[in-house]
Symmetry: C2
Subunit: 340 residues, 2 copies
């Protein structure tokens, strides 16, 4: 893989990617290629900035309300799982956090179909894919005319086309679909960069990073480099439309089996099922444990569901191969056959 070569010598410079200065020509080229590929793949209009920040989605949870709310103004949240719950908590520190809808009653097994918006929300926030509960929005929610839409796309960004124009801000920790941990991709409309509060610490102002092409301070150079490699890989797959078709087909194999299984069943509602995280149970905790042990023996690691829901979760992000899903279905069939 290219990353191994570039650790020793980036682009024929004789100096590894880790040792290059972020102000040097070699890294600047990496940065520019990464931004250009991101814009091309995501079909990102010119009036949006593409920023590489640090601190993960967890830092965007507070940076957004800190930038756009006052104690008297309101932001509306679609609460569809653990991550949106955390986002709401951080919002409360800076303004009024209004829960426009919540899937909590169904233990987040379904994306709500409608929202009860507040009078004049500054923005509406949603989490496009919910890793723990295995649910995913089919399309962007409709919002009030004066609000802007904010998407936490950490776990499904660039797994399918995204209509950037419908959003004010899209953000994503990179570690699921875009590469390494430690880089946060933020796509933000330029008028919002200008509109954001100005009395904040320099590092917490989007304008600081926009003005300095994400290089106000030393950026996470290796992370940006790897992200560029992932973008190139996505382009080689045919771009986001091709990848979406592939992901749908890949997840479809698992869901199709779950529909027919007498032992296993999917936990998410059919209209809300995620292409990235497939959650399922047998309905019997002991059997779940036995199956997880069996699958681990068969080389299928990490199937244990999140501690807050139990059961199983297959995380099948962009990079996960279809053959892996086929193997999982095979192991599930065997386990089902062996279980009376």
């Amino acid at each position: 893989m290219q990353a191994r070569e570039d650790l020793l010598s980036l682009d024929g410079t004789g100096i590894g990617i880790l040792e290059h200065s972020h102000r040097g020509k070699a890294f600047l080229k990496v940065y520019e290629q990464t931004v250009a590929l991101c814009r091309e793949l995501g079909n990102i209009p010119d009036d949006y900035e593409v920023l590489f920040l640090q601190g993960g989605a967890s830092s965007q949870f507070f940076m957004i309300p800190m930038s756009f709310l006052t104690p008297e103004t309101t932001a509306d949240y679609w609460v569809t799982g653990a991550w949106s719950e955390k986002a709401v908590e951080e919002c409360k520190r800076f303004g009024i956090a209004h829960t426009a809808c919540t899937g909590k009653e169904s233990n987040y097994s379904q994306i709500p179909t409608a929202a009860n918006y507040s009078d004049k929300p500054v923005y509406v926030h949603y989490t496009s894919n919910n890793t723990i509960f295995g649910t995913q929005f089919r399309s962007e929610p409709e919002i009030p005319a004066d609000a802007f839409l904010v998407c936490d796309a950490s776990s499904d960004i660039f797994s399918r086309p995204i209509d950037v124009k419908k959003h004010g801000i899209i953000y994503a920790g990179a570690q699921k679909n875009l590469g390494p941990s430690g880089v946060t991709l933020v796509i933000i409309r330029k008028d919002l960069v200008e509109r954001a509060a100005k009395d904040l610490p320099t590092m917490l102002q989007y304008r600081t990073h926009a003005k300095n092409e994400s290089m106000y301070n030393t950026p996470p150079t290796f992370g940006i480099y790897i992200m560029g490699q992932v973008f190139q890989w996505i382009k080689d797959q045919g771009g986001l439309a091709a990848l979406a078709k592939h992901n749908e087909e890949k997840a479809g194999r698992l869901y199709k089996y779950l529909e027919t299984s007498r032992l296993f069943r999917a936990t998410a509602s059919p209209d809300s099922r995620s292409q990235m995280n497939v959650t399922f149970v047998t309905g019997n905790e002991d059997l779940d444990k036995k199956f997880i042990a069996k699958a681990t023996q068969a080389g299928l690691d990490g199937l244990k569901g999140h501690r807050s829901v139990g059961g199983m979760r297959a995380s099948i992000y962009n990079a996960f191969p279809t053959a892996g899903v086929d193997r999982l279905v095979e192991v599930m069939r065997e386990f089902e056959a062996a279980t009376k």
Copy 2:
């Protein structure tokens, strides 16, 4: 190098360091080894936390005053260059920033020898090494009894022994001496973690990261891994005392030549000279430019001084070899001989 192997398969797992979950056993082992080596090398007492954060030293500039000051309380700053100037600016947003001393009048060519402290500073902040001006503290400044000492050690951490007990907080962006950009090492006394303000965004509270062993959110796993490799390398060199001796000898070769050169002279005062960044000039801007071009031809890149001071700067961090300094002196001698 080990990093190339571990990109493909970490510790025999068959899964590369970039793909391992930060909650998995393999990464946990990396994390624990990195912390243990850091504690061992730095002789860090048990009542200090070792945290791996994001956002660089630039984020510590605001996190510290945000955590410990109120609009009525004061922090004192030794202003010894561009980085301390930035730190002071961020402090002003949260409390009273008192400049205890400044080297500005001498264009920061000297570390001040005494400070004029305010009445009751909460903390005293200093920048142990100043990359742009080529100066470095010989030892920690003395401070008032009730204050705690804060050190921005971004550019000289682990280049020599550091007396952790004299400090409340030591922080460092990793990219100079510790490895890759995108990780910030924070060594903080446990009582300060508890004392810090509690009404801050979750990600901006040291206690969040202390309680969760730096894994409240996904940490920059590759950066922590590389830092661990660098710590192991430092240990293999004989630890910080051996490294300090080596660094002193290495920088000494360049300073010794500068003392005798008829063409070049060091810009920093003899009592303040940095072992990490050696700044020098010919006294003639055109000659400086010619020399930089000549050195670049000879394969010695990155010698141009920072735009705010001009001249030349040799950055000779831990990883820079003595042979590189010898080669630089050779090229300088040749240039001097060829210049009337």
